[in-house]
Symmetry: C2
Amino acid sequence: MRATLMYGAGDVRVENVPDPTIQQPTDAVVRVLRSCVCGSDLWPYGAMPASEHGVRMGHEFLGVVEETGAEVSALTAGDLVVAPFVWSDNTCEFCREGLHTSCLHGGLWARDGIDGGQGEAVRVPQAQGTLVKLPVAEDSALLPSLLTLSDVFCTGHHCAVTAGVGPRTTVTVVGDGAVGLSAVLAAKRLGAEHIILMGRHKDRTDLGRDFGATDVVPERGEEGIERVRELTRGHGTHTVLECVGTLPALHMSIGAVRPGGTISRVGAPQYGEVPLGFPEFMNNITLTGGVAPARAYIEELLPDVLEGRIEPGRVFDHAVGLDEVPAGYRAMADREALKVLVKP
Amino acid sequence: MRATLMYGAGDVRVENVPDPTIQQPTDAVVRVLRSCVCGSDLWPYGAMPASEHGVRMGHEFLGVVEETGAEVSALTAGDLVVAPFVWSDNTCEFCREGLHTSCLHGGLWARDGIDGGQGEAVRVPQAQGTLVKLPVAEDSALLPSLLTLSDVFCTGHHCAVTAGVGPRTTVTVVGDGAVGLSAVLAAKRLGAEHIILMGRHKDRTDLGRDFGATDVVPERGEEGIERVRELTRGHGTHTVLECVGTLPALHMSIGAVRPGGTISRVGAPQYGEVPLGFPEFMNNITLTGGVAPARAYIEELLPDVLEGRIEPGRVFDHAVGLDEVPAGYRAMADREALKVLVKP
């Protein structure tokens, strides 16, 4: 089959790789219908050292079950399924607590002999725990929104949930990328009425307003913090959803949070130290969030997508075939595309 | 009156200062019955640059109301009261949310013209919001335990509450000082059944066991982390109560916390940066806690003290008169005393 590999910064290729087959009785093979490029794929795209063999790419996909192992009783060939961006058994003590990203028998896509999502097919380990059936047809117009349950919308939702967003909490979202916009939509869905979106790409912040942002702050740094404080009687917001992962974004989050408030971070941290010292201690600031256990949220969010109450798939503003994936990376890296859908 | 001043590291003196008087209609004057030395007083005691004029000391006290300003309707001369370690109006938006340490009209003792607790009397600003009446006599045997509601027990309680301690959470307490032991007692009171106390002073950890610790880990650093992991099937505990404030204590906390778990810190941070980078992000670790809004907890904790269900005053193992306060500091700094009670 054809699949995407990265050989170094800026070097993405689509190549022939071995067809996936059942290797464990808990496996399934899924033919990919839709995949996409993630903001986190852009970190290696910007900085990966050259590699002779390349690494497989992609961790978001939905598709059709083609074959199942002997222990996969709840899935049948032909089922349309979505895969969360971490595979898991859904039965261990961490999964039972909703922390599937720490599954004792789970792991990441596209490494250690596991296929990536940006290809024609995937061998899915722990298939019964990992995959969630979708009651739609292969040509459903809902596929883009359903695909966001794999990662980006669940990540925004995780950010809002761990921050404690609700009808009485004010919210700042830092970042107008696909995760930030998803966080706006998630906050709105959880009842937030005052959502400040920090971002300066008008087409993106316009979508953010559609998703529920009540204010947009294009300024950055101290100036951005000042603007958020002006909008909140000087205090900042109860919650800050940090959807970037850089130190400047974290600094803005700390500046924008209210005493007693919570910063939740879901952007993969490009830093090792967090500047939460004495002043933040005196203000009782909480830092939470982390990699989103998407699997824990899919069933809960699915009805809202199926019944059209939310349309998280609007973050896809660009679509490519499998052979055009390298161009898709380029478009996202150059900020010509917000998020790129892949149709193998 | 006589009061305690610090003139530099290791230089504590008891001197004559002006008697407190009513200055604002919201003031009260309280004659101090019991005060104490706080672990946080030891930070300047170890490092304060020499000062010509000295600074007033003490932020924990209980005493008898002697005089009240015109707007203090709920207190009368003769009332026995406890003061939380931050004064506050108890009516602003932060106080109403239980975050009295961020009161819009509050402040700290022993600075900016406000008396300290380690003296014969105190002018209490925002007296009606700050002081809580205690239904006991001046000679009550409960005074030491009631005094802990001023700071140390409420601080341990805040640590446990913000960490989310309950019957189903396992707990590690880092530090066997008075705050750490208070955190053990608070965790036990909140229903925790598995409480690991990290500390290596046997007399202190013995009191920790009395307070509810089920395991004691005297080892530190990587060895200490390893021991906690052995006690928790390799995973760490759901909550870690960081009651020291140093970077090594924080490192141990990060090593001892379970994926998806929470570190709560109540030791005043002696660091500016927190090492919560990519690995902790992948494990969904939360950092919470901060300076304890003691005022928010006093009414809730008071009945347990009055009815003898808890005895947090056992952290006082040493008592001095006002003139012996310098010796009290020395005893705590030399670890000869766990916590020093002051009887002016």
